[in-house]
């Protein structure tokens, strides 16, 4: 394990190494013998922590800004409430103080079989099989699954970023590029071990949020207990109202997808509609129409529908 002294230093080390920011996922998985990186490069002292207003009134969040700093940031609370609420609904204060914006984008699944090195898992050991499909899958995905993997993306932050249409700024030695978040994650398909479009050697350096003047947003998370638990279903919603008409709407679901789940069809159905529980429920039906239940998690389809409906009611209230 080494510590990167500068961004260039980190990028040069990247090809053969695993980056470690807050360590809240990586260290955990290394202790469980699930991830076995040959080299770890600690990047947590790089100057990527600032949160700044962009020229167009959006917000640029450094990749190493902690979850706590983002959630409590004045502009995030004022203009991107969904992000603040999402972050604060996850983990604990101690973990949020360590976890970073960039690290959270790459949070690994909570699938129990992925996290048990003695078990088969196509994500951990490609081709070894998926015991979750006929096993313990109550907390796993109903959207975006394949016959090779049904692992759910556990993040709250990323659901909010998906609803906000964030852009992810990436650097490598050779390339600087920006990836829209709805093109960042990859469905498991036949290669569940590949979770994002990041190339080897690339480092997330920041996240840019578009200006959201005139929008309201909200995050609703449902789970068994009241705190410190991953979502069984969550909804991140942002709306622009014109009287009681939905001028624009953005929706993402958490806890139910193999990736943070954007729902363009449900958004389209609501655009121009009048605020009403029936319209919201109809949109929720659309959002979940492609859902495929596993042996234990069929209830999540109905739960996600109720979650999205209620989130829309609350954000338009």
């Amino acid at each position: 394990m080494t510590r990167a002294a500068s961004l260039d230093d980190a990028l040069r080390a990247a090809a053969s190494s695993q980056y470690c920011a807050g360590g809240t996922t990586l260290i955990d998985l290394m202790r469980q013998d699930v991830m076995r990186p040959e080299r770890v490069v600690a990047i947590n002292r790089l100057p990527l922590t600032s949160i700044d207003t962009t020229a167009d009134g959006g917000l640029r969040i450094g990749a190493l800004a902690t979850n706590s700093d983002v959630a409590h940031h004045e502009r995030v609370r004022a203009d991107y409430r969904v992000l603040s609420e999402a972050i604060l609904s996850g983990a604990t204060t101690q973990i949020r103080n360590m976890a970073t914006t960039g690290g959270n984008l790459l949070q690994r699944t909570r699938c129990i079989y992925f996290r048990d090195p003695h078990s088969a898992c196509n994500k951990r050991e490609p081709g070894s099989g998926c015991p979750a499909i006929a096993g313990y899958n109550r907390n796993l995905a109903v959207l975006g699954t394949s016959e090779h993997c049904i692992a759910s993306n556990p993040s709250d932050q990323n659901v909010a970023l998906m609803a906000l249409g964030a852009a992810i700024d990436v650097r490598s030695v050779a390339v600087t590029r920006t990836i829209p978040i709805d093109q960042f994650y990859r469905l498991p398909g036949e290669t569940p071990e590949i979770e994002t479009v990041l190339e080897p050697g690339e480092l997330i350096v920041g996240v840019t949020l578009p200006p959201m003047r005139g929008w309201r947003s909200h995050y609703l998370k449902l789970r068994d207990r009241q705190s410190y638990e991953f979502a069984l279903a969550s909804a991140a919603v942002a709306v622009r109202l014109d009287g009681s008409t939905l001028a624009d709407v953005r929706i993402a679901l958490g806890g139910v997808g193999t990736i943070p789940w954007r729902t363009p069809a449900a958004e389209a159905a609501l655009r121009g509609a009048t605020v009403s529980r029936d319209a919201f429920r109809a949109a929720a039906e659309i959002a979940l129409r492609d859902a495929r239940p596993q042996s234990e998690n069929g209830f999540k389809i109905e739960l996600a529908k109720r979650c999205l409906t209620q989130a829309l009611i609350e954000v338009t209230a």
């Binding site: 013998d33 078990s119 015991p131 068994d224 207990r225 009241q226 705190s227 209830f299 109905e302 209620q310």
Partner: protein
Amino acid sequence: MSVGTPIDRIEGRLKVTGAADYTSDRILDGMLYGIPVGSTIAAGRVVRVDAKDALAVPGVVAVYDHTNFETLHSHGRSSLKDGIVDEHRAPLSDDDVQYYGQYVALVIAHTLESAQEGAALVRVTYAPSAVRNAPITPDEGERKLGSHRGDPDAAFAASAIKVDQTYRTPVETHNPIELHATVAAWEGERVTLFETSQAIVNHQRVLTEMLGAKSDNVRVLTHYLGSGFGGKLWPWPQSPLAAAAARKLGQPVKIVITREQMFMNVGHRPKTAQRVRISAGTDGRLTSLQHDSTNHTNMLDDYDEDCAEATTYFYSVPNLRVTSGVAKRNVGSPTSMRGPGAVPGLFATESALDELAIALNMDPLALRLRNVPQRDEGLDIPFTSCHVAECYELGAQKFGWDQRTAAVGSMHRDGMILGWGMAGCSWIADRLDCEVRVELSPGSARVFCAVQDIGTGTYTMLAQIASDALGLPVRDVTISIGDSSLPPGPMSGGSMATASVIPPTIAACKDALHKRERAAAQETVVGYGRSNGTFGGEPKKSSHSFGAHFIEVTWQPEIARLRVRRVVSVIDGGKIINPKTARNQIEGAIVFGVGMALFEETRYDPRTAAPLNRNFADYVVASNADHPAMDVTFLDYPDYDLNPLGARGVGEIGLAGVAAAITSAVHHATGVRVRDLPVTIEDLIGR
């Protein structure tokens, strides 16, 4: 008088400043670290343990398996006198794997890190066999008749109003914050075991036998315990492993098991399946009650949960039969968990009572009051002190139960649906053998007893009792416990420690005061006291604690959110020695009950029988945010038949009945009757 006053824990400052010496904090000179390696199959044989790579790790001293470890003696008999253990077979004694995670090797190293790395490199080859992990049924296993009176079959058949249902409770894991740990150090033939034990005297007996040692040569110490909930009552395999490895290597050995191993190697509350048949006349008087239960157990062990423990005496009913059986499975041995028997048992019977009340169109409180027992009808003897009717009446009054409307979903507040449920509870009140020595000097005293404080307040309670008996301020009384070389004391189990230490402590104090009269002014005098236990004997009177819980849940169907909001509990637990530590026990038990009712279940893979959610993220317990508002009242009637202060223990009574009160409230709110714990979101909105 200190007894009856809510003083702070006398050891509280040590704990909050980090000065209390917990077992896993202990570091001895030359101490080695052991990591047990668990099996990754649940049934079969160990063919080969390849330790080559592990032994190559710098710092690794030894790798043991069943072919090269010490021969330890398996503990055959389990009794209070001989010592109790739930996993009888000594660790690493053969190649036979009977549960997932069973220790198949032990790595010893100079540092914890080396031991962990070595353990990860031990390669074990297995010959697996078919896993026995089928679901259990309430009639499985050889039936043991627990109690019988009248003709329950005929009465049940003749009754027009009856309930016949099966209730199930899942595997629950104790999960005290403190991990099980052993530090073993030999000096010649003598060994000192620093342990995480709720029963140091029992631990000393069992380890003496397992190690083939002389009794006087084994000393067990547990100065402080980070709780146990029953999981630390009996020795578990890390203890003989550490002791035998330390003897073999001639250096102290420490083993602290992992959180994952807490789910595999140190017991759990077994899965239960319970059929309850109950009938009543139209007046609500019970006419029959049958309770048939089965719990799973390990293939090699015989743990019996005794779900009908409270069934036999808690209801006035002329016709009754209770039976139990065990179902052998490839799972680690179950063990006692807070309120063993009565807690899962009362979930079943109190749920059935709620269902019977609905069948009768009768208020569930009125049904309870109609069937309050006047004597222990199971043993046909009187109670020493039973105020359960007052628990029901006072609890109902404090809760506002008379405002309840019976129809499902008929009550609302703040846009939420309310559900109100109630249940009764009971737990044994007994004493165990106990001896106490008191050293009395001018202006101060020391109390010595091989009991232990598992975090519940035993230090404080002993100081209060001795303070009153000696006429000294509490601060001038020093308590020495947690050492098996002291006069033998009781286990901290079955809620019996408090009641057990009272008679000999008072006797020892009196003896010391008596000797003081004839001693020189500055002399330290020594008083002794001892008392024989009542537990397991043939009593002339029946001594039990009682109580009632009234619980409010809220249900928000639009987001499928169920929360326990408010709990009123009234406890008839005898004279309360310290209302503060006692309240702490009841409130903790209520929260425990919220977990039992709504969250807790150790899930096993249907193919491998591996416990899956073996961590605190996936095994869901109640968080602080899930705590309801709690209103706890103690009736405080002394039970002088039990001991001179009339005190009973209160560690377990508070948990009994909570789950049934919650599922009854859930039914009242939602119309869904959950008979298979825990209540999940999918139970309420459909799978």
